[in-house]
């Protein structure tokens, strides 16, 4: 495992193409992914290039806090670029068209996410809303788009109550 030190690498984003210079060598275009996107989204970032559909890893960044703000923002943007799993920050309402308990059937979540407001349609929440072992709630909508709630305690009391109704 090759650990990249912040002082040895410089990221640049020109015309939406990310490149980096590591130990004097320029890599372009490079991509960044979080190795633990759910449990440690800002640590252990793999930096790699793609060649003929194969991934060639340049190295791993241990912690984004080692970087200055400008560099950190470039890396975070690159991660966001690849990883589109909106974080639900509030649930305004959960409704079902037909009444009845909401854990089965189709339900509609009116949510605020870090990528903007979204009406999420979930079929059979019992199967499509899961709590994984590191406490993150993953929601999969009818078109297989995924959403996450990293820390359920940060949701409002009302949002949590709504979520309880369909999750439990």
């Amino acid at each position: 495992m090759k650990i990249i030190q912040a002082k040895n690498i410089l990221f640049e984003n020109k015309n939406s193409i990310l490149s980096c210079t590591l130990d004097g060598k320029v890599y372009s275009p490079v991509h960044c992914i979080a190795l633990f996107p759910l449990s440690l989204p800002e640590k252990y970032i793999s930096v790699f290039i793609e060649k003929d559909q194969e991934i060639e890893e340049i190295g791993i960044i241990n912690d984004l806090t080692e970087f200055n703000e400008e560099q950190r923002n470039i890396i975070l943007k690159a991660i966001k670029e690849r990883y589109f799993v909106p974080e639900i920050i509030d649930i305004k309402n959960i409704s079902t068209k037909y009444g009845g308990r909401k854990k089965t059937g189709m339900c509609e979540i009116n949510a605020s996410t870090d990528r903007g407001p979204k009406i999420i349609h979930i079929f059979n929440p019992r199967e499509n809303i899961t709590l994984n072992s590191n406490g993150v709630i993953m929601i999969t909508d009818i078109q297989r788009n995924r959403y996450k709630i990293t820390n359920v305690d940060k949701l409002s009391e009302k949002a949590r109550r709504n979520l309880d109704l369909i999750m439990l």
């Binding site: 015309n15 939406s16 193409i17 372009s28 275009p29 992914i33 996107p37 003929d52 559909q53 966001k80 670029e81 690849r82 990883y83 589109f84 799993v85 909106p86 068209k97 037909y98 009444g99 009845g100 308990r101 854990k103 089965t104 059937g105 189709m106 509609e108 996410t113 990528r115 903007g116 407001p117 979204k118 349609h121 079929f123 059979n124 199967e127 009818i142 078109q143 297989r144 788009n145 995924r146 109550r161 309880d164 109704l165 439990l168």
Partner: protein, 783 residues
């Protein structure tokens, strides 16, 4: 391009005005061929961007609060090709220009991938000067009732399923049992009538039989006591008897109907193509067959009969209450309204605590099951205290949820009963006043209180049943959703039967991807001659197994065609095609049953002699006869009672018994030891004689006997030739052999060192472990 040009005016008509205006600003003279709307903005937020393509330009527009402007505007002649790059949760169109680096054109979510795949096909068609796949707006079809996009894979709006239709469909399944249904209704009406008679009898007792003559002071109607008591007994008896009959009838109706539904669902599952199973988790499908049909059964056996019965009761008792005293009934409405409110709004809040309690209970049992079944691992890693801590955490959570439930229940439950009893208080207070004023008799008040107690049940049941029925209908919808799926692979109406075949297979410009936007096989052409043995080689994901899936017609190619003896696979009856193919997979799946039954699976009408001969040919007979129950040995769930090599040989025996013209070996000898591999190789050599054979092999040395080796890379043929030719060529195959030989050397060295170390530790001295059978593999041998 000509076909596209025909639709120019149409496409421009469909394009929104603001977009047309924006495009014309930059390219006033160009005609728009097609456009698509994305659902992710340039800032990776939910929002829109628009891809507009004319005969000369590809333009992407984005919008801010005041204006619409292009983020990309490129000439079609400047690009080499467009492709879709899948990321996590979203995708992008990547443009490969003739000069310079690739760049991202537009991003979109999973919901739009099929549409943008069409857009990419279109762009590439323009680049190559081919006819367009589609013109105009490449937009999702919208549901006419809710205006939301309809997911292409569902073909119908999942948000707008009409529940009346679902009920109608369920009732269609009860059609063969119409007489039973009529009987159930009849019995219900009679049972309700007898039920309604019983409280009325208390009025008869009090107001008639126990009434003294005001003049003589005697009970003048005392003779009626016996017959009245008998009438009451009869009413009770009839009510019980009829409810027994009703239970029996609706029970049998439910079981029969749901057995029919389950059978139909299972038949459909067997009929559906493999692509359907790729998109649905096994667990979810199992739950469709077991739990959802069970829920439908409860709907027919419990919910609907109880609801109908409650409705009869509600109407019947309501009439009696009004007859006995309409004034009192108005007062009674006050607690009834409160009870309905309580059942509808307060009780559902209680369900959260019940569900939380059940949920934590099941989590705790899962933790216990996990740790007990994995006790060897726990002990081996000395993690007992970790497991104990984990158990304690879940156990405390379960305890707390139980305490929370009891606390809430102890608050709501007495309140609910108080509401019910307050109705009784009103009856005695208001009823008492009516008795004093002579508007009601004492008997009527007693009868009234009896009816009132009966009245709560149907109210409670009707309110609860609405939820229950709604849930069961959701389950029914999920079942019907599967029943409505159409298999992607179907016999065409002009499918021809296949009798004898030579076994010539041709791939003609075949392209295929499990997701349309991600081709796994790319424009592949290949001829396989009858009785030829072909080895398929390549890294994982190169497309080897996909080629096999296509030959077996588990999927149809997206482009091009596959021919068997010159006939397109799509024109051949599926059952005939599969009867000509025998397959030995890496993961030999055995069904729960005996060894004999498992071999017989490929040819159910085979004789015992044929099965034994197949087992002998597969080198399986010798291990089978060592088992105490020989061919009657139970293989266990998924064949768990047998070793990997044993399962593999049974799987080969299965293929031998089928006597196929085309034989497919998908890494048939991987994950077995060398001794077993030798036996399996021997069996395979017997098997391949006189058949077209396609072998995917992990161990490249096993391919030396192939007539031809096809080396696959990224869905294309990278090299072709015999083992010798390819080794001499020193290309990709040579590299793969080299890597494998080095890997086996490393593993060998590591294993030998480990074993030597272990021996040293055990014996206290160094020991040469000697020659291992597995250690024979080296580069020279592989060559």
């Amino acid at each position: 391009m000509s076909s596209a040009k025909k639709n120019n005016s149409d496409s421009e008509k469909k394009i929104p005005e603001f977009l047309l205006e924006a495009f014309k600003k930059y390219h006033p003279k160009e005609k728009i061929l097609f456009y698509a709307e994305s659902d992710i903005s340039n800032h990776r937020k939910f929002g829109n961007e628009w891809l507009v393509v004319s005969d000369n330009h590809i333009t992407v527009f984005q919008k801010d609060s005041s204006s619409i402007f292009p983020s990309h505007d490129i000439k079609i002649t400047s690009i080499k090709k467009a492709k879709i790059s899948p990321q996590v949760g979203s995708m992008s169109i990547i443009i490969e220009p003739k000069h310079g680096s690739n760049f991202k054109l537009i991003s979109f979510s999973q919901s739009l991938n099929q549409l943008f795949a069409l857009a990419v096909d279109n762009i590439n068609a323009l680049v190559e000067n081919l006819p367009l796949v589609v013109t105009g707006g490449i937009l999702p079809s919208l549901c006419p009732s809710c205006n939301n996009p309809i997911p292409p894979e569902l073909n119908k709006c999942p948000r707008c399923t009409d529940r009346k239709n679902t009920l109608l469909r369920i009732s269609q399944f009860t059609r063969p049992y119409r007489m039973t249904l009529v009987l159930i209704l009849l019995v219900m009406i009679l049972s309700t009538a007898f039920g309604l008679l019983t409280p009325y009898m208390s009025k008869v007792f009090i107001d008639v039989i126990f009434k003294k003559d005001p003049v003589t002071g005697n009970f003048t109607n005392s003779l009626w006591l016996g017959p009245a008591a008998l009438t009451l007994l009869f009413a009770y008896a009839m009510q019980m008897f009829l409810s027994g009959i009703q239970e029996r009838l609706s029970g049998s109706l439910g079981f029969r109907t749901v057995a029919d539904v389950r059978q139909k669902l299972y038949d459909k599952l067997q009929e559906l193509s493999l692509a359907f199973f790729d998109k649905h988790q096994t667990g979810a499908l199992l739950s469709r067959v077991n739990q959802d049909t069970q829920e439908m059964q409860r709907l027919l056996v419990d919910f609907i009969p109880v609801s109908i019965e409650s409705l009869f009761m509600f109407i019947g008792i309501g009439i009696f209450l009004f007859i006995l005293s309409w004034e009192l009934t108005i007062f009674i409405l006050i607690p009834i309204v409160c009870i309905v409110f309580f059942v509808k709004t307060i009780i559902p809040k209680m369900w959260i605590f019940f569900h939380r309690f059940f949920h934590r209970r099941s989590k705790l049992s899962a933790v216990v099951a996990d740790s007990i079944s994995g006790i060897r691992v726990v002990k081996a890693f000395g993690q007992e205290s970790y497991e104990t801590k984990k158990f304690k955490k879940y156990s405390l959570e379960y305890r707390d949820s139980g305490i929370e439930l009891v606390k809430k229940w102890s608050l709501f439950h007495p309140l609910f009963h108080l509401l019910i009893m307050s109705g009784m208080v009103i009856v005695w207070y208001v009823g008492g006043k009516l008795v004093f004023s002579g508007k009601m008799t004492l008997g009527s008040v007693v009868a009234y209180s009896g009816y009132l107690m009966m009245f709560y049940r149907p109210i409670f049941m009707l309110v609860r049943m609405l939820d229950m029925i709604s849930n069961a209908l959701s389950a029914a919808e999920r079942v019907f959703d599967i029943m409505d799926c159409e298999p992607l692979i179907k016999d065409s109406s002009d499918a021809i039967p296949l009798t004898e075949i030579e076994g010539k297979i041709e791939f003609k410009n075949v392209s295929f991807g499990y997701d349309k936007f991600r081709p796994v096989i790319k424009n592949l052409s290949l001829n396989i001659n009858p009785n030829e043995m072909i080895g398929l080689v390549g890294r994982s994901g190169a497309g080897k197994s996909t080629m096999i899936n296509l030959i077996c017609r588990l999927y149809d190619p997206d482009k091009g065609e596959i021919l068997l003896d010159g006939k397109d696979l799509r024109k051949i009856k599926q059952s005939d095609l599969r009867s000509k193919i025998g397959i030995v997979l890496q993961d030999s799946f055995l069904f729960n049953g005996t060894i004999f039954e498992n071999i017989l699976y490929s040819k159910p009408n085979a004789t015992r002699e044929e099965v034994i001969s197949a087992a002998i040919a597969a080198n399986a007979h010798e291990f089978i006869i060592k088992k105490p129950d020989a061919y009657d040995t139970e293989v266990g769930e998924r064949g768990n009672n047998l070793s990997g090599g044993e399962k593999q040989r049974i799987s080969i025996a299965r293929a031998i018994l089928r006597n196929p013209n085309i034989l497919i070996l998908d890494e048939a000898t991987s994950s077995v030891d060398t001794q077993t591999e030798k036996k399996i190789q021997e069996a395979i050599e017997k098997l391949i004689k006189g058949r077209t054979t396609i072998a995917i092999a992990h161990r490249l040395s096993t391919l030396r006997k192939c007539d031809r080796i096809i080396v696959m890379k990224n869905g294309e043929i990278a090299e072709t030739g015999t083992h010798k030719e390819l080794m001499e060529k020193k290309g990709l195959f040579y590299e793969l052999v080299k890597i494998q030989s080095e890997m086996s050397k490393i593993i060998l060295t590591d294993d030998t060192n480990n074993i030597a170390g272990m021996k040293k530790a055990i014996n206290g001295k160094s020991d040469d472990y000697g020659n291992r059978e597995n250690g024979e593999s080296n580069f020279e041998e592989l060559q």
